[in-house]
Symmetry: C2
C-alpha cells in the first residue's frame, strides 16, 4: 500500500504536495501490520519531508521508541519512503520478481467503472502484486486516478455523509479486503 | 458510542485518566457521522480535559473552522462531553425515552464469552439503545469490562499482530456493525 503526498489535491482542486504527518505514519503502519500488508510506501518528492519521515521511523526502530514500544517498531518497519509512485512500483517489481504490478486507487468519490470489495479481495488473493494507493489532503489527483488499473468503490456508511480521515478509511479498506473471515 | 478517558489502563496496567486528543475527537466524530451513530460521548472526569474538548468542538461549530470546513462541523456536532460512563448512559435514557441501555465493550484482547460482529449487528438493528465503548491509552479498565453487558470480539487481521490505534479500530468496528451491505 502507499500513502501519497504528491500529486494530491488541496481544498480548491489544485495539485499540491502535502506534508507528512507523524500520526498518519503510525496509524497506517499499525493497520498495515495488522492486516498483513507487505510494505507501506510513503510517497513524497520533497526532500525535507523525506527526512522528517525518516526521523519518525528512526525514532521507533533504533531510538528510545523501539525499546519502549516494540509493537510500534514492528509496524514502523514496514515503511519505505519513496520519491514517486513509479519508484514504489519499481520497488515492488524488484522485491516480488514479477513484472506486472496492478495499481488500485481509493477515493471518497464515486468513479465510473469502480470495482467492489469482494472482487478486489479475490484478485489480491491470487498472489499477484497490487499497489493500493491512498491520497492525503483532499485526495489523489485526477492524473493518478485515471492512470490506475482499478478504482475501488468509496466506503458507504449508512448516510450520504462520507468524510473519513485517511487513517480511518485505510483501516476500513484493509479490513474489508484482507481480514480473516470468521 | 463513547470514547473513554477514565477509567483506562496505562502501560503498566494501572488505572489512569488519559488526555483528550484533538485527532481522536476529529477522526472518531467523522467515522461516527459516516456510519450514522446517534451521539459520540467523550468521557473524562477531569475538568481541564473537559474544557479542552469543549474548545476543540467550539472551534469547529462556532468558530472559523465551521465556515472553512462544514463537513467537519457536521461530525463534531455529534460530540457530547460527559464526566462518567453512567452520565452517558443517563443521557441515552433521557434522549431515547428507554429505560434499558445495553453496554458493549471493545478490546484488543480475547475475552471469554465475547460476541461476534454479526450477532451485535443484529442486536443493534432491533432499535434498542446500545452504548459501544472504546478505551484510550492501554484500554478500558477491568472494572468497566466486567460490568458491561457484552464484550465484542477483538479485530483479527491476518496475523497475530493486533495493535490498531483507537482511531483505526473504532472505524473498522463501526464499518463491521453499521455499514450498508452492498
Amino acid at each position: 500500500m502507499a500513502l501519497i503526498h504528491y500529486p494530491v489535491l488541496n481544498k480548491y482542486g489544485e495539485t499540491i504536495a502535502s506534508a507528512v504527518t507523524n500520526l498518519d505514519l503510525h496509524d497506517i503502519a499499525r493497520a498495515a501490520r495488522t492486516y498483513g500488508v507487505k510494505t507501506f510506501y510513503v510517497v513524497t518528492p520533497l526532500q525535507d519531508q523525506q527526512i522528517l519521515a525518516q526521523k519518525i521511523i528512526g525514532h521507533w526502530i533504533e531510538g528510545f521508541g523501539g525499546k519502549y514500544n516494540p509493537h510500534r517498531k514492528e509496524a514502523v518497519e514496514l515503511i519505505r519512503i519513496m520519491d514517486s509512485i513509479e519508484s514504489a512500483m519499481e520497488n515492488i517489481r524488484q522485491r516480488s520478481g514479477k513484472k506486472e504490478v496492478r495499481t488500485v486507487v481509493t477515493s471518497a468519490k464515486q468513479i465510473e467503472g469502480s470495482i467492489g470489495y469482494g472482487q478486489l479481495r479475490y484478485l489480491i488473493s491470487t498472489g499477484s502484486p497490487y499497489l493500493l494507493m491512498f491520497g492525503t489532503a483532499w485526495g489523489l489527483s485526477g492524473e493518478v486516478i485515471s492512470r490506475a488499473d482499478y478504482f475501488l468503490k468509496p466506503i458507504s456508511g449508512t448516510k450520504e455523509y462520507n468524510h473519513l480521515s485517511v487513517r480511518s478509511a485505510s483501516a476500513v479498506i484493509l479490513d474489508r479486503l484482507l481480514a480473516r473471515n470468521e
